[in-house]
Point group: none
Chain length 193, copies 4
Amino acid sequence: MARKVDPEKREAILKSARELFKQCGVEQTTMASIAGKAGIATGTVYLYFDSKAKIIDALCDYYLLDNIKAVAPEYENTDIQQAISRGVHAALKHASENADLVRLIDQRRSIGGKTNRPQADRIVQKTLREGLAKYIEEGSMRPYNIVVMAELISGMLEWISKVCFVWSDVDPMRYEDTLAEMLRHALLKNYKG
Amino acid sequence: MARKVDPEKREAILKSARELFKQCGVEQTTMASIAGKAGIATGTVYLYFDSKAKIIDALCDYYLLDNIKAVAPEYENTDIQQAISRGVHAALKHASENADLVRLIDQRRSIGGKTNRPQADRIVQKTLREGLAKYIEEGSMRPYNIVVMAELISGMLEWISKVCFVWSDVDPMRYEDTLAEMLRHALLKNYKG
Amino acid sequence: MARKVDPEKREAILKSARELFKQCGVEQTTMASIAGKAGIATGTVYLYFDSKAKIIDALCDYYLLDNIKAVAPEYENTDIQQAISRGVHAALKHASENADLVRLIDQRRSIGGKTNRPQADRIVQKTLREGLAKYIEEGSMRPYNIVVMAELISGMLEWISKVCFVWSDVDPMRYEDTLAEMLRHALLKNYKG
Amino acid sequence: MARKVDPEKREAILKSARELFKQCGVEQTTMASIAGKAGIATGTVYLYFDSKAKIIDALCDYYLLDNIKAVAPEYENTDIQQAISRGVHAALKHASENADLVRLIDQRRSIGGKTNRPQADRIVQKTLREGLAKYIEEGSMRPYNIVVMAELISGMLEWISKVCFVWSDVDPMRYEDTLAEMLRHALLKNYKG
DNA sequence: GATGAATGAGTCTTCATTCAT
DNA sequence: TATGAATGAAGACTCATTCAT
């Protein structure tokens, strides 16, 4: 029998790619260098990823899923007011800690025409919607269209990330209070600033 | 050095580029084809634009400035409630009518590291802030940090555009009501849904 | 290494290769796809053939040997006039029935410099020479240099195949009469058209 | 105005390519090396030839056309017997003098499926047919199907070239007498060997 | 023998940009 | 100002072949 597929190799490739992307930029990073850093041959990379773009996608997906994984617990099982505070804080903190991936997401461009929405994005939306649904059900949140609200929240967070990490290099925490306060007014049924 | 010798020629280049970008995509569109469609020689393009990226930027800038030009009058000189309704409507309508440029904005790639924020973006923010300031001054809007609020609103609109035109092809008007309602609750001092 | 472990497997490889070459072309056909179609692992192919080129060679050799096997009986044990008619007919018919291999022969690339003449080609020449020799000995054929004549006949047949199957897709039978007539005049001692 | 196209550059490219193909082989010769030897930039080659294959084609075409240019005068304006002798001689001599191009022709392979017959080949056939037609008209040549005869003659000559320069390295002149004699018997109406 | 994961060399081509005219 | 021929850097990807299991 031949050698078996090595799941660790996939991780090694992603790790190498992330580091190189961060250090040298996406354009400057070659598939050969990724392979080299991961200690494998160029061609081997293609056994795990179809193309350079797929590596970028995987990294972006990782960011999004890791983000929701870090943030979701913060806004669950608590009252909505705290959920907002904690959620916003966790989201901005996570972005801060992964500024390189935020920049990478800004690189992941649709080649041109319509592109299918990345799966990870859908999962984020779904998780977000589920969180919102609970608060609407329990009556503490205004009964907005959940699909739209989830998108709007994502939009604000992504924009902040872009403003802070792509267009400048400032701490997104400076947006925390205003964002939370706005969300409280927008979402809470009975909130007196 | 991008002088502005013949303003009509500059417009012709932008028009050709926009059409080709829309039809063939940014990558597929060559400087030579832009020149050809505009009826001038390849080298001549460089008398008006320093690079292909500058053409894209000019088109994106045009979109942003045209957007604010179309939207700003809607939320000025009226009460805040109407301002929100009209502003949201105008913004989404304008995006709808310029879906190709929305997609182009998603293409404009920051080479990798930090990029300076496009001038047009700053103007949009400034205009937006001025609009918000007035309502805060007159006391009808909650006294948020204006800078942050302007960014958040931009983030939501840009995200909606992306969801509707890059990741799918749906009418952004479906987001109109929820977005407006949320903004009313968030921004208005005394609003009873 | 190319041992002949399992003769059936060898045949399966050749059969798969021939079909894939025909359907997808030589370049598009990968060793992996040949193995897959034959129901074995990639590496196993190399137990039967040293390289992809050897598979092509084997197929070409098969064609040449099969051709002479089909044609030789037609021009043996009969008078020369009939030998020519039957031989020409059989040769063109066989080519017709194996057009895909004719095209394959046109693919078999001599890497560049001088290449050794394929063994099968030598066998074809030898068989052809033996056939010609008999007719010269018995005095019915003009005493040409047999080596040269055999080559010339091969050249005409191969060229017809190329014209008919590589450069177009026409029936080589349209060349039959003229070729036979020319050969009769050229080879027969006493022939009055 | 910009620089004008330089017809000599095209020749320089072909000359460089031919030399490199001869010295290093087609595979080993890179477009960059062709450009370098011609004293121009890599990209400039593509202003004159769409691809490496087109360069090969141009060289092959040159060979074929040069061949017919060298040979045609030999079999024109003379009696058919001399035409055959001179024509065969000239053809083999020309092949001898351009052995590298003969090998190149053997490299020019159809990618796989049916390929259109090269234009130069058609011209060669046409010229050959015109030569044959005259002798048939004047009654000195047997009234064969001219199209077929022209093909058969090409086939014999090409095969000899291949046998002599691709599969070995021998003087094709050794085929001269037999080929001429065979053609005389085949083509001449009244020939007594 | 059989497997199939791993290897890694290798080049054509594009096209934004420049600059001689 | 306009032209368009010339430049030349740059890298993702394939796939025949190998070899550890």
